[in-house]
Symmetry: C2
Subunit: 244 residues, 2 copies
DNA sequence: CGACCCCTTGAAATTGATCAAATGCCGTGG
DNA sequence: CCACGGCATTTGATCAATTTCAAGGGGTCG
């Protein structure tokens, strides 16, 4: 059986049949290495490909005419990225590697075949897409209605909880691998102000930092400050079509 | 053939077979009227139902502990709402009727059957879910990185373009049917500041208002001010499975 | 008529942005 | 090994956008 990073991720939620696994593995037949900082997809370029992120970290973002950047989402191994190209012929967002990464590009026609032949996987993708949607609405509420400190807190918790889904080594600390400017671009703040908030949270004993590594010292208070809810706990896949 | 508001919407993008149409119509077998202002779904309640909005307008929102509200999305006839309950057992957001509405609730098991039996419809739903995702990222960039005036401009254009998809009567003016406080809650501003921006845009000849009706007088400038892109023009459904 | 809601306007307060400069860190090449 | 350049972080001072607070006006519905 071929390995599939994406199948492994899905298998955390539901059992997959061998046929489904190998169909998913076919999406990852063409792994490609991309260097840190390199562009995977450029906004407005014609796109027909999607990607599975196999290794490393990536992000999607848009640039506004005045040069400011909004980071839309940070991605981790096993994430399915660039799904906007399923419906838009021109990329609505750019994708860039945050570290050296391995991505597996596949054409949307391959996705089509997968959806046709494996309705249960199709349903699963639909569900995960809805989970992404909720993640975005959470951040929308964060940007629209909470203070700078709350945004930093919830952003850290979000990254932390997402890393924990796949990486069992994560217990209370993690490598953020983002500059303060990037954090700011993700949560709608300047790097200067991110610095002040991080620094303040450190002094208050909420977090600590050591060469790029963040430790969450008081998660309860962080959740309270950030108005954060961990959505991962509440997922329910039971109603999906039973295994073929 | 039974009527289906949702099928009509999908049919704007792709041709549907009779079997697909009647399968979609079954989702709308139980229309229910809901009065303006009434709750359709309350956050944190256990949910197993989704809805097609057949008539009227609705919105989803969350309340933060300090009482402030973030409106996540405004919905129009033909929209598929509450899709978060496909994956979360407790509603992550509330749904409320903005006008008297007719909604068609259906159980997620009915959706499951639809996805199993009609892979092409499943694919289509997946695509539309990705389009929603992009709409959210657009607003995320708006909240995170643009001025109050830009947010108002892009919000108006977005509502306008979405109304135009279904309602042919819309050419340059439309009923917003939202209070200034609701606009503010959607784009992360106070009602006071929304008022100042709307008023300013009116004085500059960008828009005009008459008893709740908004007319867009200078769309080009509005698009520029709001950094707005109309995504509807760029949709591509050609690669979908061909008709069965 | 009164209650209520929404819109409007002004003045003061506050949050976070902007500008500017210093510090520290790390990899590279001499 | 050290010097250097370049990038990220840190800090201070000032500025500007938006919120907050407060009050008045207008329309509508019971």
């Amino acid at each position: 059986m071929a390995t599939s990073c994406f199948a492994d991720r899905l298998a955390k939620h539901v059992q997959l049949s061998d046929a489904e696994r190998s169909a998913l593995a076919r999406l990852e037949e063409n792994p490609r290495k991309v260097k840190r900082g390199a562009m995977i997809q450029r906004v407005n370029e014609t796109v027909t490909e999607l990607f599975v992120l196999r290794e490393g970290r990536a992000m999607s973002f848009v640039l506004l005419p005045d040069g400011s950047r909004q980071i839309l989402r940070v991605y981790f191994p096993g994430d399915f990225i660039g799904s906007a190209s399923t419906i838009y012929s021109k990329a609505p967002e750019s994708l860039v590697a945050l570290s050296d990464v391995v991505i597996c590009p596949f054409d949307k026609h391959a996705l089509r075949r997968l959806l046709e032949e494996h309705p249960r996987v199709a349903a699963l993708l639909f569900l995960l897409s809805n989970a992404e949607r909720v993640a975005l609405t959470d951040r929308l509420a964060s940007l629209g209605r909470t203070s700078a400190k709350a945004r930093v807190a919830s952003f850290l918790l979000d990254i932390f909880d997402r890393l924990r889904v796949t990486d069992d080594g994560v217990t209370d600390s993690f490598d953020l691998k983002l500059t303060q400017e990037e954090i700011g671009d993700a949560i709608g703040l300047t790097s200067v102000h991110v610095n002040r908030m991080v620094r303040q949270m450190e002094q208050e004993g909420l977090i600590s930092r050591a060469n790029g590594r963040i430790t969450l010292l008081d998660m309860e208070r962080l959740e309270e400050i950030g108005h954060y809810t961990n959505r991962h706990k509440d997922m329910d896949f039971d109603w999906l079509p039973s295994q073929p």
